[in-house]
């Protein structure tokens, strides 16, 4: 069974239908690039999938658990970094990750924190409060809290947004290292990221899935990805 199963998902904000009958599934080992213009429904789909928002209709199942029926179990198997990687700014990086580990009920939280700091190369800023970090480090802290429990499903909303090329390379490297064991969804505006990171592409526009195919097939649509993107989302 796929680790992520989304079926006929719908969500409206007042009169605006943000997500219309979105369905897809993601297997272990897949890294799905979520593409779409701003306001297309990418983030809303992610919020529905992570249980932050309740769908008006449809279902989202994570690691076999329905996020509405069994939210705590679904969330235990899920790592999520929302857009902008929010974190408790007054806490140090170590305290913040320790809180995440404790709240998740992980055995030996101190060891988990130490492992995650190393994995995400955050050791040198572990004692600094999150508020004082540069954007690159902040994004990595958001990523770190999402992987601290080694989840089966990883959902990252624009994890490389605003990072410099070196930082982007670093985040992609960590993601690639762990991708084989997980089902990953990454939303992005950076089309080159598709080739470097993803195995599959889902394009969302106006709340609908416009395209859901392998990376190879998507790249065959044309040499100018910006033009491909414009055509699909028009």
């Amino acid at each position: 069974m796929a680790l992520i199963e989304v079926s006929q998902l719908q969500k409206s904000y007042g009169a605006i239908r943000a997500v219309k009958n979105v369905s897809f599934s993601v297997d272990r080992g897949e890294v799905v690039g979520f593409l779409g213009p701003n306001g297309a429904g990418k983030s809303t789909t992610m919020k529905l999938l992570t249980g932050y928002l309740r769908p008006d209709a449809g279902t989202a199942v994570v690691a076999g658990f329905d996020v509405v029926e069994n939210p705590v179990a679904a969330k235990a198997h899920l790592g999520y970094s929302p857009e902008g990687a929010p974190a408790y700014g007054e806490m140090t990086v170590r305290e913040f990750l320790h809180f995440a580990a404790e709240l998740r009920g992980l055995a030996d939280p101190a060891q988990r924190v130490a492992d995650t700091l190393k994995l995400c190369r955050l050791e040198e800023v572990a004692g600094q409060s999150v508020d004082t970090l540069s954007k690159g480090y902040r994004m990595r802290v958001g990523f770190a809290q999402a992987v601290i429990h080694d989840p089966a499903v990883l959902i990252l909303d624009e994890p490389t947004d605003g990072l410099d090329p070196n930082q982007k390379f670093e985040v992609r490297r960590i993601l690639k290292d762990m991708a084989a064991r997980k089902a990953v969804i990454v939303s992005t505006h950076i089309l080159e990221e598709i080739d470097e990171l993803c195995t599959r592409v889902i394009v969302i526009a106006q709340g609908e899935v416009r395209c859901d195919e392998s990376k190879e097939r998507f790249l065959q649509r044309g040499t100018d990805l910006n033009q491909v993107f414009r055509k699909l989302t028009a």
């Binding site: 932050y52 969330k75 999520y80 902008g84 806490m91 998740r104």
Partner: protein, 253 residues
């Protein structure tokens, strides 16, 4: 990390305690907590001495000290409670917290009790006041203890109202002002001037019923050494109704 992702479903208590510890420690991560404790202490003691004339009264009792506590809590409980949910919304961490394996209720309970304990710690700092009265005279210790119990419950009721205000906005300032105004009305209920105002509008029976909703009216028996069911139930009802309603507001996001 292991090859087989092993993400346990946490025990419900683990999330509650983790949130409670984080929130309680959170108060002391900024200078605001120390300012808060100093202000509470300074006002609690000054009001008792300079307006309540506790010393000149020549009676070994703290009833004049507790007399002003509804005013203090009406101001300071919303100050401490404003961050409960408003800060989570402003920082964007609400989305994080509620996508971790924790229910809104576990998070809400952890936050609420952390804030209540923080208010309790402000109250504990005034204990030298009680020791002084014991040193100078021979007060009824039971009455002092029940006064502290009443004040702590009164703080919980004000915090319940503050929690609702905080759940409704992402601005701590708006949460504080609306929370304060709501608590302020409950302080005024039961005061002479306000009663006269009500008498002009409602029948005497109704005014009496409204007066029962005032904070001081419910705190007063505690300061006399009576831990009655009715005022206890009143404070706890307001506290937990506020907690419940604020949680429902957050849950409906």
């Amino acid at each position: 990390m292991s090859d087989q992702p092993a993400s346990p479903t946490p025990r419900p208590g683990a999330a509650f305690w983790a949130v409670l510890r984080r929130e309680f420690a959170g108060y002391f991560r900024t200078p605001l907590a120390y300012v808060f404790l100093a202000v509470f202490n300074a006002f609690a003691i000054s009001l008792a001495f300079f307006i309540g004339n506790i010393y000149e009264a020549g009676v070994a009792s703290l009833d004049r000290f507790f007399l002003y506590h509804p005013w203090l809590w009406a101001f300071l409980a919303p100050a401490a409670g404003a961050r409960l949910w408003a800060e989570e919304r402003r920082q964007g961490t609400l989305e994080l917290l509620l996508t971790w394996p924790v229910t809104v209720w576990q998070a809400a309970l952890g936050k609420f009790f952390a804030a209540w304990l923080f208010l309790g710690s402000a109250l504990l700092i005034t204990l030298p006041m009680a020791f002084t009265v014991c040193y100078l005279g021979d007060p009824d210790v039971g009455v002092i203890v029940s006064g502290y119990v009443g004040s702590f419950l009164c703080a919980g009721a004000c915090l319940g109202i503050a929690a609702i205000a905080s759940a409704l906005t992402r601005s701590q300032v708006i949460a504080f002002v609306t929370g304060f105004l709501a608590c302020f009305v409950l302080v005024l209920v039961g005061y002479g001037v306000f009663d006269e105002l009500l008498s002009g509008v409602f029948a005497t029976g109704t005014v009496d019923e409204i007066r029962r909703l005032g904070l001081w009216r419910n705190l007063e028996p505690f300061t006399l050494g009576l831990i009655d069911l009715r005022p206890t139930a009143y404070f706890l009802t307001v506290a937990f109704a506020g907690l419940g309603l604020s949680t429902l507001i957050v849950e409906r996001r």
